[in-house]
């Protein structure tokens, strides 16, 4: 792989993700004002002291956007990492062991997936107390059902290969087979899936926050910022569109990179290349 072969769209995606990551990592250094510092009148137009204007409580929108990147990306990333660890561990175990365990996990997974994700999240969040780690865990568990399905399919393809058979005959344990034989050979397709799930997590978190069930104020997060400023829209104040645009931009960037990753893996497999 050389750098020339990466298309422009993927570069745009990488650039967008890098900007968001820099904002998230160095938020206190970049942001001109504090996260929940009231600096002026409400809904001031952009320009002058406040580059993007102020929000519904008179806080600087740009600063909140930068801090929001931190919360949004951290929660989405944490949820994706946990859901991947959980989903892959369970799916590989199911694929390698087979039999009863496989049936049990798969049928339970089907049951979980029979309830639409958002509805499931609403029902569960209605009961659970509102903590950040609970939110992350709920998102992770719901998302891991998707990871489980794809992970099992991918792992089943690998589990019938000769080298897995050889490892089994050598007397290696299930743990060795999962981590040393199957995992390295499934990383490539799963990497693309990771990006896809990450984009999904960003959107899902934003939706939950927008509905008032995600990250709780005063912490800044992009979905919550849209919710805070949505009342301004009918007065022609576009403060709600800026964090909304940030969510969309980040999700698009991640998807552009994923698109390229997927094309790459599918061209490695060698098909007619247009599907």
């Amino acid at each position: 792989m050389n750098l020339r072969s990466i298309p422009i769209s993927a570069w745009v995606g990488f650039a967008g993700i890098a900007i968001a990551l820099i904002c998230a990592l160095f938020a206190p250094l970049i942001a001109p004002y504090g996260e929940s510092q009231v600096v002026g009148d409400i809904w001031l137009p952009g320009g002058g002291d406040f580059l993007l204007g102020t929000d519904n409580l008179g806080r600087d929108l740009l600063s909140r956007l930068i801090y929001g990147a931190r919360t949004t990306i951290f929660v989405a990333l944490a949820a994706t990492v946990i859901s991947f660890s959980l989903g892959m561990l369970l799916s590989f175990t199911a694929a390698v062991t087979g039999g009863f365990i496989d049936q049990l996990f798969s049928r339970f997974n089907d049951l979980m997936m029979a309830i639409p994700t958002l509805i499931f999240a609403l029902v569960v969040l209605a009961v659970l107390p509102q903590h950040l780690w609970i939110l992350i865990l709920v998102m992770a568990v719901l998302d891991s059902t998707r990871v489980f399905r794809i992970g099992r399919a991918v792992a089943l393809d690998v589990a019938v290969m000769e080298f897995v058979e050889a490892a089994r005959l050598r007397g290696e344990g299930t743990g060795w087979i999962i981590f040393r034989e199957i995992l390295p050979n499934t990383l490539s397709p799963l990497l693309a899936e990771f990006g896809l799930r990450f984009a999904f997590s960003i959107l899902f978190l934003s939706t939950l926050s927008f509905l008032g069930l995600g990250i709780q104020p005063p912490a800044a997060d992009w979905g919550g910022m849209v919710k805070d400023n949505k009342d301004g829209i009918i007065f022609g104040i576009n403060a709600a569109l800026i964090p909304g645009g940030a969510i969309a931009a980040l999700a698009i960037c991640v998807n552009l990179v994923v698109d390229w990753l997927m094309k790459r893996t599918s061209s490695l497999k060698g098909g007619r290349g247009d599907a």
């Binding site: 769209s9 049936q103 798969s106 089907d110 049951l111 997936m113 029979a114 309830i115 639409p116 994700t117 958002l118 509805i119 499931f120 609403l122 029902v123 569960v124 969040l125 209605a126 009961v127 659970l128 107390p129 059902t145 998707r146 399905r149 896809l196 984009a199 999904f200 959107l203 899902f204 934003s206 939706t207 927008f210 509905l211 008032g212 069930l213 979905g223 849209v226 949505k230 829209i233 009918i234 022609g236 576009n238 709600a240 569109l241 909304g244 645009g245 969510i247 969309a248 999700a251 698009i252 991640v254 998807n255 552009l256 698109d259 098909g271 007619r272 247009d274 599907a275």
Partner: protein, 371 residues
Amino acid sequence: MAALGPENGPAPTTETPAAGTLQPQAAAVAGSGVVATMNTGVVGGTFWRRFSLRRPLAALIVQRLGLSVGLLFAVSLMIFGGVEALPGDFATTYLGQSATPQAVENIRKDLGLDRPVTERYFSWLGGALQGDFGTSWASRNSVSEQIGKRLGNSLFLAFFAAIISIPLAIGLGMLAVQFRNRLPDKIINVVSLAAISLPEFFVGYILIVLFAVKFGVATFPSTVYDSMGFLERLSAIALPVATLVLVVLAHMMRMTRAAILNVMSSAYVETAELKGLGAFRIIARHAAPNAVAPVINVVALNLAYLVVGVVVVEVVFVYPGMGQYMVDAVTVRDMPVVQACGLIFAAFYIFLNMAADILAILANPRLRHPR
């Protein structure tokens, strides 16, 4: 949010076929004497086996129906039981600071929470089957009455979004296939990729800013009343329908494109090309009949997604539907409402997925003989 859903429904297709489905396979090879004698033994068995042998297709459909009902039952158990198993208590939340043990006890008794779980579950399920979902904890109104009004509104919204988006998605998908890897396809690809990445509320607010605030041609908020005429209603839901269409269109179109391309890149289409048949003839005679099944599947899956997609759109447009009702109930932890809405949404989702499954079986005979 736009990436939610349609890619993964519940998957009755992956279910291991029960005893019933294996029969048609046996029937197909029943020509040989050995199998025939084996079958006579089976035919003598239960009514179901005889039925599945004589009418394999009907048996398959009945089996799918049964599976969905079973799934729905399991889901109801999960929605109710899961809620019970999780920590957190309405009474404590409701009382907040003033939660003395006595007051909590009183509220729990008032709401019937002191009865055993199994008893409450069965009385809840029994009521739900008869269309009675109990009374709301927060407002003390009948849940069924509220749902009766709001479900119609939500379906109204979803119905119009569906009849606009389906033809549009299939048309654009075919266009993308026709011009594959050329400019129109690339434009459609990039635009739909962007559209998938947009959260529903963002699309909604952009439409509001453009059409309600800037040009003033549409109404916001999209409140509807009982006394409203049909045309008035239509103009009120124009923006929410447009939002839903945009959100679901990209998904449906990409899936349609993939489904048709899959058929177009198969060996028999290549043969037809090499024979020198015209593009139209290839599509009409060879590709289309085989593409019907996946396209129907795509449409049904996206309809299932649409039913769920209304939740966010209703909140954005302050539209009095099921989604808004559910979100409001979740914020005040009004469990009877949450459970009822959750069950109804899940039921729509499951049955539309089942419809996708059955239609795919009807359109593609190969699926009737699961391996």
